[in-house]
Assembly symmetry: D2
């Protein structure tokens, strides 16, 4: 099936992946994981919510943990270019039969919440309260020195339709994995707004679910150190996959699971994609270097487990792709 064509002039201007809101069942355990082990900075916290950010981020938060009875993903947050873009987004959603509402969210400017036609719960804002950034406060660096939220990756049950929808919103395809043959179906796609490999990626599977969210770290050494720290502080079982080099995106990666099983990627080393003539890179679904340049397959959990959105039913995917699993 066809890779989507880039829309240079979308109906509203999304700048980038901005923040994620997760429901967690043990707020203290989750805070400990993200603050002490991963090394995010707690900017605000109360008995129900913890707000965290990474050292490069001026904005108040890029990760929000909400105490909840059931773990899940509540919202994927995106930054738009202006207040005007929020209104344009509302108009677009209305014209396309998508319910939305403007809500007040702590520390954020006017916020539009909507659920896309496939069940992904989004929120958009043009501004957030600012905090002095911590980039040069190296004395406060902790954990693996996470620098900024980079992207989300979701399981989509209707993969082609989903990427076509986001292409209409101006998300641009950079890489994709496809079955071989003339009728080969796209099984995964990486799409960006901000000029690197992705802000939002899609994996064929039971959906809608969040596969992972990712923070960018400075070097592979930070990732190696996180492995060492997790292995020596009771988080051995939370190391799910890696470290390794993705063929796709060229990123050096590590996947870890938080206390509720939400998946976090630490990653570094991708590339720029803002040229108008940038062409998407196709990978055969059967090329082992796609998953890991070094050839090691991912564990079954990585293909199958994800975080459901807290107000959505999960559907079986339209097809099952034949991927290589380490069993």
């Amino acid at each position: 099936m066809p890779a989507p064509i880039h829309v240079f002039d979308p109906p509203f201007n999304i700048l980038r992946a901005s923040h994620v809101v997760l429901d967690v069942t043990d707020l203290a355990a989750s805070r400990k994981f993200y603050e002490d082990i991963v090394g995010l900075h707690v900017e605000d916290a109360d008995s129900d919510t913890v707000y965290l950010r990474a050292v490069e981020e001026h904005q108040h938060h890029s990760l929000v943990l909400r105490k909840a009875a059931i773990a899940g993903c509540h919202r994927l947050g995106f930054r738009v270019a202006s207040e005007d873009d929020l209104d344009k987004a509302g108009a677009f959603f209305a014209a396309n039969g998508i319910t939305y509402s403007f809500v007040a969210r702590p520390f954020q400017g006017r916020t539009l919440q909507a659920t896309d036609p496939f069940g992904f719960q989004l929120e958009l804002c043009a501004s957030m309260e600012k905090r002095p950034h911590l980039l040069r406060r190296f004395d406060l660096y902790k954990g693996c020195h996470p620098q900024r939220l980079d992207h989300f990756n979701v399981f989509a049950a209707e993969l082609q339709d989903t990427i076509d929808f986001y292409a209409r919103l101006g998300f641009r395809l950079t890489e994709y994995a496809e079955e071989d043959g003339d009728a080969g179906r796209i099984a995964a796609a990486w799409m960006h707004r901000k000029g690197n490999v992705h802000d939002l990626a899609f994996t064929n599977g039971k959906g809608p679910r969040l596969h992972h969210f990712a923070y960018w770290v400075p070097t592979a050494m930070n990732i190696v150190h996180l492995c060492d720290v997790m292995a020596s502080s009771g988080y051995l079982a939370n190391l799910e996959r890696g470290p390794g080099r993705h063929g796709i995106s060229n990123a050096f990666f590590l996947y870890v699971r938080d206390p509720d099983g939400h998946r976090l990627e630490l990653y570094t080393c991708d590339y720029q994609t803002m040229d108008s003539d940038h062409e998407p890179l196709r990978w055969s679904l059967k090329d082992p270097r796609r998953q890991t340049l070094w050839g090691a397959p991912a564990p079954r959990s990585w293909f199958e487990q994800g975080s459901a959105f807290n107000e959505q039913a999960v559907r079986e995917p339209l097809f099952v792709a034949d991927v290589t699993i380490a069993d």
Copy 2:
């Protein structure tokens, strides 16, 4: 004097710094330096010209070396978003009394050449011949593994007017160094188009001249290795400054001089700047951590030497800033 306000809707859309064209007096010596020591890849070469690129770059070249009797900088190249932007650029230049011409340049699409009001010789194109990128051809990596051209830094004799001009073109201020006090003058400015710290930076001084061009490398380790290689292969005197951490931009840096004295920066570790509400960071000109976070001043040559543009006279700066020099 005031920091310029960002123009979100410029007269034409420059995407990023794209390539630099240098005049060199010994083509073989320069090629050896950039290919064997720095580690760029020669894409094409003839008796008069060598075209090089870095591993991430799809485009045919980001550095062009031209054999010449006198060393100098010939052109700073920028990528625009579309062919239409080239025409818009022409219209803007015409309306502002700036001579321009469309020329044919090997391996480039339609190319507009112009000299700005301050003597900086530019060329713009919307496309360039593509080559398979080498990002995943790690077996071909050489030298310090340069990944992409990142930015230019120029000496401007009329600093405030120059940054105001480029602000009109949509370059956005991210950091600047200013004299203290109410009448403090801006002495250096970093401006971007592509969403990181800069595509083009300006330093007060005899101008117009190129201070340096910079390639992004993956980690500080690559820069340390380049120091070691240069010290052990006859390029000890070409190591001018660093390695170190800039306060400005947070970059880990090294400055080296090529056989003609053209200055190249290898750098890594900056940050994203694409949010609409991103605010420029002011540094006092007297803060030693501005130049180097670790406090070591730069050598005199770094403040005084640069590459003249090959068709321009060099003018004294309007004022002399009081900077800290290691003598």
Copy 3:
């Protein structure tokens, strides 16, 4: 069974693991692997033999490749402190019923060859021709920058007897893996002469065979780069295990297979062990962090495959240890 007690005053003084002699079936293919990919330096070569060394080594060679019809390990070479120690070694071997001979080996001083009671083919010398070392010739660094040969690891069919024998020779136990329970048997042992974790390690299994030999590299980044290079230059299948962190020895490691299947470890980050009161560290055979601190089990090939010695029959081990294998 008991861990051996350190003998501070052995019958002769072995300084360290010095060199390994391998039989290879395609000399050109093996040379290409070790020289171009791994990055060892060829010091001498003829139609039958290639001599290589790492950048730190003054001695002529630490790896000798011999053209042969059948791949195998020919000799494990150790350096002794003096010519006198060679004679003491001869006397010790004679007194213990071990046949030995003094032979002339190219580029080596007087060389004693012997096969120990378990079939490990050794050679000892007190001197080797010297070459200017390349440690500061960073311009000649290649591959993963191997710095020095560090150790050998062998499969021993009679593990306890073998480590008891080498303990008599002054090899000192630093770490060992043991079955749990009062009758728990030692299944692997790491022993040193030179003051770090090991010069010679022993793994229970079909023996005598060489499990691997190891070169020390400066940092984990060199190992990551080797993975990238092998994956992009046709050696994907030669990446056997890692990179990862051993619990044992604390080393960051990678195991690769050469064109004949000989196993090479690239490793870094161990520790010093020369204090007289240094105590061996015991690991339970069932602790997953022993193999890999991060918990990932090794592949079956890593437990089962090794290089036979070219003049020895291979025996089944006295017992089969219950280890965790990734299948």
Copy 4:
């Protein structure tokens, strides 16, 4: 003047540099520096003394801070192989007119204290209380991840006599810097016991004084991070020299000053030296790559300042070497 010949069979067996005892004027400030910034671990502390060690060290302490009215170096500690070696040391000192005494030191076994003929205050012990090492407790790693004490470097007023004395004790010369010409004098010497470049180095200058003590860190990245941390936490002025690569020893280094001005080196990347036929490397005093492979001279403070021993007068050196200083 002649480089000393190695004594393979010294009168007693020193294993390695073990610990240093410093007098500091503000115990809390010094503890904060070494614990929070550098990242050593406090093993014990009372109102007058703080004991610290690095992650690899089993022994109770490698740095002792003592509250004192005047800052100074109290003792350089060395580990000997056995209790018997302590008695042999006493006998040697007695035979050579050197006063010594056996003293009780907290957490140490029987300890011999002596002052050598040149005023260097030493203490020797064969054992120290053990603590579980922290090498695999990556969750406790702090600062620049110091791993073990490596060496001392002292200013000697009578350089040739001092190195000749330590050569008699079995310290082996690995590198030295010498004036050019037939009558060239040795101006600096690096000598080891443990099999790497040095346990004790000597620099011509006002002595006896401690120039620095050094901890080994895993990689250059740890050193870069320490620079960043010190620059952003009020220790900018304590960054004295580096980071850089020494020509001598090949080490990647950083020199920092503690709150009393005691100099600490963080260093990595040296090499092995235990072969019997290892030959010392001579450097011309005028080779700029000796100090720093990359050519940058050291600041004046680095050549002139050091820590006096607390019971010794400081003497002018016998000669003044002509070294290159950055002024």
